[in-house]
Symmetry: C3
Subunit: 341 residues, 3 copies
Amino acid sequence: MFTLAELAEKLSARLVGDGSVLISGIAPLYRATQGEITFLLSPTYKSLLADSKASAIVMSKEFLSDYSGNALIVDNPNLTHAQLAAFFVKTTEFSPGIHPSAVVAATATVDPSASIGAHCVIGERVKIGPKTRVGHGTVIGDDCSLGGFCHLASNVTLYNNVKAKDRVTIHSGVVIGADGFGLVNHQGRWIKIPQLGGVSLGNDVEVGANTTIDRGAMDDTILEDGVKCDNQIQIGHNVVIGAHTAIAGCVGIAGSSKIGKHCMIGGASAIADHVEITDQVILTGGAQVSQSITEPGIYSSGCPVQPRLQWHRQVIRTRQLDQLFHRVKKLEQASDEHDHD
Amino acid sequence: MFTLAELAEKLSARLVGDGSVLISGIAPLYRATQGEITFLLSPTYKSLLADSKASAIVMSKEFLSDYSGNALIVDNPNLTHAQLAAFFVKTTEFSPGIHPSAVVAATATVDPSASIGAHCVIGERVKIGPKTRVGHGTVIGDDCSLGGFCHLASNVTLYNNVKAKDRVTIHSGVVIGADGFGLVNHQGRWIKIPQLGGVSLGNDVEVGANTTIDRGAMDDTILEDGVKCDNQIQIGHNVVIGAHTAIAGCVGIAGSSKIGKHCMIGGASAIADHVEITDQVILTGGAQVSQSITEPGIYSSGCPVQPRLQWHRQVIRTRQLDQLFHRVKKLEQASDEHDHD
Amino acid sequence: MFTLAELAEKLSARLVGDGSVLISGIAPLYRATQGEITFLLSPTYKSLLADSKASAIVMSKEFLSDYSGNALIVDNPNLTHAQLAAFFVKTTEFSPGIHPSAVVAATATVDPSASIGAHCVIGERVKIGPKTRVGHGTVIGDDCSLGGFCHLASNVTLYNNVKAKDRVTIHSGVVIGADGFGLVNHQGRWIKIPQLGGVSLGNDVEVGANTTIDRGAMDDTILEDGVKCDNQIQIGHNVVIGAHTAIAGCVGIAGSSKIGKHCMIGGASAIADHVEITDQVILTGGAQVSQSITEPGIYSSGCPVQPRLQWHRQVIRTRQLDQLFHRVKKLEQASDEHDHD
């Protein structure tokens, strides 16, 4: 519970209205009510301002004229949303220490301020830094290291030799360090190439639920500082992802590809192996990248849905396209001859 | 083991032939043998009727003329398949009670008829209803609630504040309630927006293996009654899925999108964020939805495979399409001039 | 640690240079240094040979003229990479026996040379063969069987009735035997068809992290000998995958489809249900297969990315394609008339 004036100070926001009003939570604009603070995050919802029952609204200054209640005026309401939500998140208390049901190797070093959940298994020579929390049922292989203030949720699996720096978050169902898909075909059979590299995660990396990151063949697979991965992503062996790149859900990145810094990879994109994508590239959802991208910019591919019959006709027409080019060429030749008649 | 007459009665089917024959299992038509009952589910397989060694066949009445053995005549053999299979499924016995290796918070309420598997972890204030079975290694976060007759398989993870009503089935590897992918870019770095909502699952929802459903940012992510999800699906934060909608495998649904009731979403479809799809929409496999769909119907996108060289030529031709339009325009102008000569 | 002469003998390679040099590891060509052996796997990197500090390089004979150091000459350096890496892989020691925290049914049979990790749960009548290693937190359902020399990583889930032959590798997060997505629509609601089949994995099958393989409806879902699956793959009920087929990450294969032997399925491909793909088919990444493929060969689909504006124009043009065909037809008719004037 905060007064609006306290929040204004914490957020370096300009206070408009009654600073003594008490704020006990946040809620979206359409349903925020007394005691709650809310946000105008898009001009689309401007019309909801007048009737809002929220105790205060965060907005940028141009909307003040549409509103007469308590407000916090900021430059970037989205950023303020992130900051405010952090004040109200109910974090489960993790008491330091190792749950008695966890199995921890004698050679592992767990900081006394760290917390290891029930039924975890911690391998040989693992190092776990201060204030790092490990959920229940998580398995950490030999020679892994986690920095400080990390959070591994429940049922995470790290194979051996995975290194994470500080403030790394790994969600449930994530598997890091499984073997890369390295195979050689020999007389019709697949021979496995043992994968000897590891995986290295920089500071502030976040890895979404059920994402998989394979270990490198000889070098490490690398996610640099500040990389954010959504759920259900597959990152192949020896991939390098540049700092502060964000990857949305269901993306696949095949082996040995390099993604630049400050990229945004749209959901369900697929990136082939051995491709390089430079810095500051935006791929929209469903992008298929089969060759390197050397210029920053926005790239797209894919075919948005159509009513089925229309789509079917288009598929057929597209298949006749080569033929159409020939027909047009013929017409051009005929027209040419005609001109020269 | 049932007599055919007993099955006819249970299924409200018309019995043709010997009702005293004993049925001990089901099998597909091509290999069903004595003691087994089978199904004609498609006219394609009509030719197998004559030689079938099955003790009885479920079919609709129009096929009786092709067959002289024992039969159960029903309107919808697919439905009867579902009902019959239920008689023969070997369900592992779950004895009520909590496995001694499970770690259950003192404030959790587990119905005495419920069953909690080995190595489970049940959080604070969790409520688990009657006859609900939880497999092994499953972790249920604080303040979750499960209704009656639910089935959570092994190695499921629920974060805190996930609510499921009655008869909900959740398969292994599912993660429900991980943080939505809410980020704000501030000076080139991604700031996390804490996700304060929960996840709410209606009655009779089924969630396939390794599917992920993120918690909402402020509101809940919602799957209404009777929603069926296959495996490896990603459902983003604040998504709402209408009652009795079925979603096939590998689908991705980005944040804040709303799917209507009674929809069928084909496998590997990708639905962008903030999109609304009305009721009774069918998306065929691989559909890419980037805008709202306001009319019921069947929608498609995508390019079925071709032999590689043909496909390659088509990609090139498609990229020259704009140019082709200009060439045709020029021809039309020339033709026009010619007409007016 | 091996001498180069020892490695030459083990690998049946031709030794060039000093056989007494000691080799303690492998590394990629760009950074291999003294004590390490490396590989020339592609002519692209030929220029790195001269300056390499590696103690020896594996190559095919045509590159010897570019290099004056120690070498092992082989026909297939990729194959030699696989063999050499196997000499240097640090395998965690798995001591035989059952971890005291594992819960093993009294009716299960675990070979005394097998190893069962911490917090595992092994169901009724399970059979586990010699030298098979099961990681931590893995759950194996009733009536499963694993042959000899298998490796199940940590946090794997097998439902009941999954059979794996010898030398099968299953990575973390894999779920095998969850219910196939079998539903019948009855009056607007989905009725579940209980899935009574199992899953059967041949010798030398490998299943990548977080891949899911559903149990069959009545028959088994089958992966034949030597099938290799990467991560995040979904294999529907009753699918049959022929021997020695390799499937890259993020592929979805819908129910009842049959893939031939010696196929290569590119990443993020999607294969519809009830499709048959013959032997020796290669699908490139992102292929969408909606109909059977009866001829061996290479098949592709999809649209590689373009700069966004270009892509957008192409989408519009493609939608006008049908109209363009009509315009060209009209021109052809006009031209025809002109010719007959």
